[in-house]
Symmetry: C2
Subunit: 152 residues, 2 copies
DNA sequence: TATTGTTATACTCTATAACTATA
DNA sequence: TATAGTTATAGAGTATAACAATA
């Protein structure tokens, strides 16, 4: 039996390490074109075409200035476009270019291939566990806003 | 049944998000004294008293210059000490100060409390899954050097 | 007056290149 | 010559503060 605290300890050790693996894979291997935050932002705009800066910031959990700079880099490199929103001129409408879609897909493929290869040594039963565990984490951290403190 | 690729996809979505939660908790809540890499380095030296810079770099998966600067910050703030190693004068011996131990313990406690609270909504069965899943990930990413490519 | 976004500034993380000192 | 570590330099990620434009 594991206590919530045991699980918390486990997360605190394993998550940063896994994150570092993903980050260095993205940086060093085939597709150093995108950092992890860039990848996430690009993927979000790809799923939500016409998104505003605030929507990206909300999704990423970043401040507006941080998001503005992040998006700037992606626009400079022609992975994203920025247009005015005619219905509310304070807002912008972001969109992924075809160039951006290619980069996004390449980056996703390379990283998935890397992870998939690593996971080839894991038994089916363990993989089910990982999936169920990730689902629980997702539910708690990504969707459960009921217990989340409101931070101004 | 989940394929390795399904699991990889899941990791690629959930791990960065969870990492961001941990990072922003450490930054914004009670103990903004340590960033995640600083916490990890300090915890490593605490477990391996007298460690050299190279040992920290290996553990963290960072280059020597990056590690040198990271450690510098911790020394400047009197969380770590640096001594010469008399047996090999090229090496240094790192140690945690009592001040560093206090900070480390506070930071660990605050983050664990935060995670533990989040996990209070997870059923025991799901927690077992998370633990088993983390164990599998740990085995694959942290210990399995057999299939890891050697990157110079 | 409140919301959306940008610019200015600053700090940490991280890398590569070039260096010093020791083995 | 090889190894351990530092310094110089640079780019990305992130924040807060101050601002402009629009609602």
């Amino acid at each position: 039996m594991s206590s919530p605290e045991d699980v918390a300890n486990e997360l605190l050790e394993v998550v940063p390490f896994t994150m570092k693996e993903i980050r260095s894979q993205m940086r060093s291997q085939r597709t150093p074109e995108l950092t992890v935050p860039q990848f996430r932002a690009l993927a979000f705009v790809n799923r939500h075409s016409g998104a505003s800066l605030s929507q990206v910031a909300d999704h990423m959990g970043l401040t507006l200035p941080s998001t503005s700079r992040l998006i700037d880099h992606l626009i400079t490199r022609r992975f994203l476009t920025r247009e005015d929103n005619p219905y509310d001129r304070r807002r912008i409408k972001l969109g992924v270019t075809s160039r951006g879609q290619v980069i996004l897909e390449n980056s996703r493929r390379a990283t998935l291939n890397y992870l998939t290869k690593k996971l080839s040594n894991v038994s089916p039963a363990e993989m089910e566990c990982i999936v169920k565990g990730m689902y629980a984490i997702r539910r708690v951290f990504m969707y459960n806003t009921a217990t989340a403190e409101v931070v101004k």
